[in-house]
Symmetry: D2
Subunit: 339 residues, 4 copies
C-alpha cells in the first residue's frame, strides 16, 4: 500500500511516496482504509518543516475518514465496513484535556493518516455521520471539532447572542454554522468582497472588512448597537487579539485557537479591558465532544464547507494550494483512484 512521508525538503509539498505491506490490527486495534483526508494549517507547517519538533519521515496529516477493513482481537465497537472518522487527540476520550492526551497527535507527534491503511486503537475513531461523503467527513476531526467548541464554553451560547468569527478558514466557517444552528447572530470579518458575500449567504448578518477597517473591533461594537460580541473565535494572527477584545461585550467569552508562531506583540493591558471577560485556550476537543457534534451535524443536516477537492494523483498540488492560504473552507484529498 501507499504511505506518504515528509521528505525534509522544507518545500510546501515536501512529501515522498513509499510502499509497504498492508498492516494488520493487533488486540484492541482496527485497520482503516482511508478514503479521504483534509488539510489543516498545522499539517502544512509539519510538511514545510516549520513546526517545532517536526521531523523528516513522518506520515503527515491528522484528519481522515475511511472504512474499517479489519478488527483486532477483542474489538467490540466496530465491524468491517463501518464508516469512521479519525480524531486529533486519539487518547482523549472525555473530560478535561490531560498531559497524556496531549502527547499523541497523528501527523505531528506520531504518524498520521496520509496512507492507504492506518492502524488505530478502537477508541481513536468515531462513527462518520451518515449524510456526509468521505471528503466531508474528513473535515471534522480538527477544524470541525474546534469550531464546535464555540458552543461548549463555561458560558453557553444562547439564541439571540452575538458570535464573532474571523476570516474564512475551516474553523471559522464551522463556528459560523454551529453558532447559527444554536440560534445565535453572527458577525464575521473578511477582506474579500466575494467571500463576504458567501459569509452573508451562510447567515452572517454583518461582515467587516478588516483591511479597510483596521479598527474592526470598534466596528463590531457599532454593528451590535454598542454592546459588542458575546462569544468570539480568536484566531491568533497579527493584531487580531486586540481587536477581538475591543469587540467584546462585557462578560464576553473569547475562544483562543490557533498558531503559536511568529506572533506579534500585544499589550497585556488589553486583556484587562474586557471586564468580566473570560478566555479559553481551545484544544480541539475530545471524543465525547466529537459525538455530540456529530449528533448536531446529523440532526440539522449540516455539511462542511469544502473549498476544493483533489484526487490521489494531486496530493502535491493540494499541499501547494493549501500553502497559499486563500481558501474558503476546507481542502480535501480523496485517496481512492476513482475519486
Amino acid at each position: 500500500m501507499k504511505i506518504y512521508r515528509t521528505d525534509g525538503s522544507g518545500r510546501p509539498d515536501g512529501i515522498r511516496l513509499t510502499e509497504a505491506a498492508v498492516p494488520r490490527p493487533g488486540p484492541g486495534e482496527i485497520a482503516v482504509r482511508m478514503r479521504a483526508v483534509s488539510l489543516n494549517y498545522l499539517d502544512l507547517k509539519v510538511i514545510a518543516g516549520t513546526f517545532p519538533g517536526g521531523r523528516s519521515g513522518l506520515v503527515p496529516l491528522s484528519d481522515g475518514a475511511g472504512e474499517v477493513l479489519e478488527t483486532g482481537a477483542g474489538v467490540a465497537a466496530w465491524s468491517a465496513g463501518d464508516r469512521v472518522v479519525t480524531t486529533f487527540f486519539p487518547r482523549w476520550q472525555a473530560g478535561p484535556i490531560t498531559e497524556a492526551a496531549r502527547a499523541v497527535i497523528p501527523g505531528s507527534t506520531a504518524d498520521g493518516v496520509l496512507q492507504e491503511v492506518v492502524i488505530l486503537r478502537e477508541d481513536a475513531v468515531v462513527a462518520a455521520p451518515a449524510h456526509l461523503d468521505w471528503g466531508q467527513a474528513a473535515c471534522l476531526p480538527c477544524a470541525g471539532l474546534t469550531g464546535w467548541q464555540v458552543l461548549t464554553g463555561a458560558r453557553p451560547v444562547l439564541p439571540g447572542e452575538i458570535v464573532l468569527v474571523q476570516g474564512t478558514g475551516g474553523v471559522s466557517l464551522f463556528a459560523l454554522q454551529f453558532a447559527r444552528a444554536a440560534g445565535a447572530r453572527v458577525i464575521a470579518t473578511s477582506s474579500s468582497p466575494a467571500k463576504a458575500g458567501r459569509l452573508r449567504a451562510m447567515g452572517a448578518e454583518a461582515v467587516i472588512d478588516y483591511r479597510q477597517t483596521p479598527d474592526w473591533g470598534d466596528a463590531v461594537r457599532r454593528a451590535t448597537g454598542g454592546q459588542g460580541a458575546d462569544h468570539i473565535i480568536e484566531i491568533g494572527e497579527a493584531g487580531t487579539l486586540e481587536q477581538a477584545i475591543r469587540a467584546a461585550a462585557t462578560g464576553a467569552q473569547i475562544n483562543l485557537i490557533g498558531r503559536p508562531v511568529g506572533a506579534p506583540r500585544v499589550d497585556p493591558a488589553i486583556l484587562m479591558l474586557a471586564m468580566g471577560a473570560s478566555y479559553r485556550r481551545i484544544a480541539v476537543g475530545n471524543q465525547a465532544d466529537f459525538k455530540a457534534m456529530n449528533r448536531a451535524l446529523s440532526a440539522l443536516r449540516i455539511e462542511p464547507v469544502i473549498d476544493r477537492r483533489f484526487g490521489p494523483q494531486a496530493i502535491s498540488e493540494a499541499l501547494r494550494y493549501g500553502a497559499e492560504r486563500g481558501q474558503f473552507g476546507k481542502i480535501v484529498i480523496h485517496l481512492d483512484e476513482d475519486a
Copy 2:
C-alpha cells in the same frame, strides 16, 4: 380607573370590579397603563381561592404588558410612552434566587396587574420586544421565562440534543420554541390528535399520546433510538415525574416546574434510576434572564402562541375558559376598550 379584586367567592371567575383614582408614581417608581394581561395556572388558583395564603380583595394576575404613563423622581431608565412588560419576581434582578426575591409575587403575595394603571419600581419591568403586540408581550413574564429556563441549566442544550416537553400549556410551547431555536430536537406529549398536529407543525419530531401510551416514558426512549431525552420539562402532574425519569437519557437534566397541589405519590427510588441525572426546581427567572430571552425573541422573531384573546368586557369569560384547562398556548385579556 378600573381595578379588579378577588371576591372570595371561590368561583373560577371570582373577581369584582372596583374604581379608584389613577395613582401617581413615587420616587424610583413608574406608572404603567396596562394594555394586556395573560393567565397562568397560579392565577386561576388564586382567584378560585385554592392557592395557599390567597386572600379576598387581592388584585390578581402576575403578567402584563403596557405603556409607561408617568415616571417618578429619579427614574432614568424609562420615559413616558415606553412599552414594558411586568415581571413575576419584581425584586429578582440577577443571580440565584433569594429569600427576599421570592417574597414578592404580584397577583399572589402582592397586588397584581389586573388594573388599568399599575405602580411599579423602575427595575420591576423590562422593555417589550418591538415585534410583539400587547397581547403577545403579556405572555412572557411567567410562561415565557419559565420555558426559557430549559436553555439555562448547568448542562446547556446543544444542537442535536433531545428535549422532551409535556402537553400544550404555555410553558411547554415556549420551551418547544426555544429548544428548536437552539437547534435541539423536540419530542412532545399530547392526548389530542389535533394538538399533536399543531405540535408537529411547531417542530416536534414526535408526539406521544400519554393516554393511549401510559408508559410514555419508554415510548420516548424508543422514539430516540433507545437513548432517551437529554433535557426534560417536567410539569408535575399525576404520574408525570416517573414517566419523565423513565424517558431520561443517562446524564439528563430534568427541569421541574409546576404546581405543588394534590400531588400523587411517587417512589423516590425512581429518582435514583436516572444515573447521572440532575433535577432543577425552576423558579421562573430573573430580569437578566428576561432580557436574554427578549434578545432571542427579537433576533429570531419568535411569537408566543396565543390560544385565545378576550376583550375587557369578557374577563369573567376568559377566567372560566382558562379554568377548563384545554388550551393550546396562552390566554390573553386585552384591557383597552377597543381591543
Copy 3:
C-alpha cells in the same frame, strides 16, 4: 489462589471458597495481588441475593487495594510492586457517565475483587495514596469517591457554606471530611449519642437526632439560623428525602445517593418546595475524579474512618457484621494471612 464466590444461599455471608491457578495478564492488563477490600451496602445485597440481577457464582465486592504483581504486553502506566486501588466503574475514565461506563461494575455485573489475584485493564486502577495503608486505601473506590462528589456539583462548595450529611455510613463520613477540608460548616444526623460525639469530634458543628426529632429537616433549618443547608447528601432511606428538602436553603444542591430498593413513597410536590434547588443523582465517580480526590487526601493527610478490620479467616464474620448496619465508617477485610 483463593477465590470467593456467591453461593446463592441468600445468607448475609453467602459465599464459598474456591481455588484456581494464579491468572496472567493479557495485553493491556495487569495482575493485582489484593491486600485489602472493603464492604459497601451494594455488596451485601449482592451476597444476600437481594440485588436485582445478582447471580450465584459471582466473585463479590467492588473495592480493593493491592500490589501490581505482573503487567501484560503494552502496559506502560504500571510496574510490578506499584500500590493501586480498584475502581467502581473501571470503564469510566473521565467526563459524564455513559451507558457503556455503567455496564461494568466489579462485584455486581462482573466478577469483583474478593480473590487473591485480580486481572484488570491498566486503566481500571489508580495509584494508592502513599500515606494510606492497604485497608484505608480499600475504602476509597465507592464510599470515598461518592462522598467526594459533594464537592463537584454544578454549585461548588464554598468555605462558610453549610453541608448536611446523614448518618454514619462510609459515604457520609467521607463527605463530612471533604466538606470540612473545603472550609464548609457541617451538620449531621444520628440517633446514637455516642456516634453524635464522634461526628462532632470530626468537625460537625451540630448533630441532630432523627429519632427524637422526626421533623429533623426543620431542626436543621433552625440550627442554621433559618437559612437551611446549602449542600445535602441525601441517602435515600425512608422519609429522608422529604426532611432533606425541608432542610434545604433556597438554591440548595441535593446530592442523591443510595439504594433503589424497598423505597417509601414521597409526595413529589415536596420536590417543588425548594425553590431554585437542584438535585443530582450521583454515580460514584470516574477515574479523573478519583485522582483529584487522592490529591486532596494526600495534601491534607486525610485518613478514611474504619469501623473495624477483619482478617482473611474472618470474612464471613465481617459480612455478618456489615449486615447489621450499625457501623461508624467502613468495614475492611485484609486478605493477607498475617494481617
Copy 4:
C-alpha cells in the same frame, strides 16, 4: 463634617480637607458614619492624578466600614447603629457584571468614602462580619472580594489543588487565605526573605524569589512535581503574565486582576501555550459574592492582614506610605479621633 477631596496637585498625598454639613439620607438611602477606610492601588492613582478620567475635587477611596447613622424613607434593611461595609460596585447586586454596574465606582467615577459621613443607597452596603474591627472590615470591599474570586471561577478550587499567588499585596494575601481555607495548596512569589517567611507562616508551602529566579514560572512547575499550578492570581505587572502561563498546569484557570497602565508587552503566542487553560478578567465582585465571602470569614474567623494602621491626623502620611508599595497586606486609616 470633614470631607477630603483630590487637589489636582499630582502628589501622592494630593488631597485637601473641606468642611460641610452632615448630609441626610433621601428615600431608599442611608447615612453611614465612616469609621475606617483602606487603600487600594487604584485609589493612589486617582489621588496622584494618573488614573485616566480622574479629576480634581473628587472624594477619593472606594473602601470603608462604618456605622449607620440614619435611614431614609422606605429603608427596611438597616437600622441606626448597624455595622456596614461599602462596596466597590454599589450598583452590582448579583449575577454577571453589566455596563450599568461598571459605571459607578466610589472614589473613581463618583465621590468615595474619605469623608466622615457618606450617603449611600441601602443596597450599596453589606453587613460587616461581627468578628472584625472597623479597620479589618474596611479591607474587604476591593482587595478582599477580588481575592475571594479565586474560589468562584468556572473551575472551582478543590482541596489538594495548587493555587499560585504573586507578591504580598492585599488581593494576593486574601487569595492565599481563601485558598488555604478551601483546602488548596499555595505557592507564592516574593523577592523579600522576610516576606517569604510571613507567607510561609500563612500557609504557603513554597515561596519563589522572582528576582533571583526570573524564570519563576518554571520554578513553580518544578515545585509542583512538574504539573504546574491549577489556579493562578495574575497581577498584571511587567512580565508576570508570561511566567504565570509557564507555571500553569494543563487546564489551569488564570484569574487576571490589576492595572491597565504602563503595561509591558507580551507575546500573545504565550496565551496559546497553556492548552485547555482559561483566563478570567476579574472585576472585584457583586454584593451576593460579598455576602458569601463574609460567611466564610465569619465561619472560619479569618482576619484580613493589615500592614499598618493610621489615624485621622495621618492621612497624608498613609497615602505616601501606600505610594511606596512595599506593604505586606492592607493599609488602613481610622477616621475616629480616638482611633
